[in-house]
């Protein structure tokens, strides 16, 4: 119990440090001026910096499969914003989802007396057979979506949701299929800890929370973009476990 308290204290201190850091940042030199409506120069907008994948350095054109060691090496621009430029925001989003799952779990487990499962023994033959075929394919599709999140559309949230849907269908069709509470807890907390751990490692080595501390490689290759794929894998496992937990609670309540 003591050790757990110590870890909680360390994490709280780290977050306090990050929040304090935000107050000491000085705004960049050169004030931002807004043009008239319709006359703005898009090349000076922040979105263009995201497209060129360099907020701090000079704007060079990004060439697929050729440009190397960019600031954010993911080919998918949405991913480079969601999991790199504003990944702290994403951590907050995941926490909101976690709180929702925890709340549903608490509310639905208040009455433990009458536990009957939703899936009847006579769930239809088509559903049973279909899910037997579809379950591994759905898992594969979900895994593809989040592993290739930095290259193609998709990412942690989508992949996690697809995986949760696969488990939902399996639970609906197969009455004997049961996921243990402990395994969901284990997956969920491991993913969360690794997300925060990656962030803290960036804080220690590069000086800001969740900074990309690995080489970003060539744009468009599977092993590129530094910590973005790792973050997305953590997000996918966390989201998948949380949504599966929500569905499982609803089915078993």
């Amino acid at each position: 119990m003591k050790f757990r308290n110590l870890i909680a204290l360390v994490i709280t201190a780290a977050f306090a440090l990050i929040i304090l850091q935000a107050f000491t940042i000085t705004p960049a030199a050169g004030e931002i001026t807004l043009n008239e409506f319709g006359k703005a120069d898009i090349n000076n907008r922040t979105a263009q910096l995201y497209l060129n994948k360099s907020v701090n350095t000079d704007n060079k054109k990004v060439i697929y499969q050729e440009s190397k060691n960019l600031e954010s090496g993911s080919a998918n621009i949405v991913t480079s914003v969601v999991a790199n430029y504003r990944s702290f925001d994403t951590l907050g989003e995941i926490t909101v989802l976690f709180l929702a799952a925890a709340g549903i779990g608490v509310v639905l487990n208040l009455e433990n007396s009458k536990k009957k499962k939703f899936a009847a023994d006579d769930s239809s033959l088509i559903l049973n057979t279909g899910i037997k075929l579809l379950f591994p394919l759905l898992l594969l599709a979900g895994t593809y979506i989040f592993v290739y999140g930095h290259l193609s559309p998709g990412g942690g949230f989508q992949g996690g949701a697809v995986i949760a849907t696969a488990f939902l269908l399996k639970m609906l069709s197969d009455n004997k299929f049961e996921i243990k509470e402990i395994s969901i807890t284990l997956v969920e907390s491991t993913a969360g800890i690794s997300f925060v751990g990656l962030g803290l490692y960036g804080l220690v080595t590069r000086g800001s929370f969740l900074e990309n501390f690995m080489a970003t490689g060539t744009v468009g290759q599977l092993f590129s973009a530094g910590i973005i794929p790792l973050i997305y894998i953590a997000i996918a496992f966390k989201v998948g476990a949380e949504l599966t937990n929500i569905v499982k609670n609803l089915i078993e309540a």
Binding site: F118, P153, G154, F157, Q158, A161, T165, L168, L243, L250
Partner: protein, 80 residues
Amino acid sequence: MPLISSFLILIMLAAAAAALAFDDLLSSIIAAGLVSLTAAVLFYFLKAPDVAMTEAAIGAGLTTAIFVLALFKTERGKSE
């Protein structure tokens, strides 16, 4: 392109109106799922495939399932 968009938006509006109008709550939930599904297709045509995937997986898939489960748990099949 505007033709497809307006067609999809019409479907969305019709499904949303149907979700409000149905007496049977299960039909309402299905209609609400149809709204999400059409929104997903619309997002895809608006060149936002990431949002489209999220909408299809969570909006059309999981939310509908969660609503249906909640409906059967509360054992209230009909509204007033």
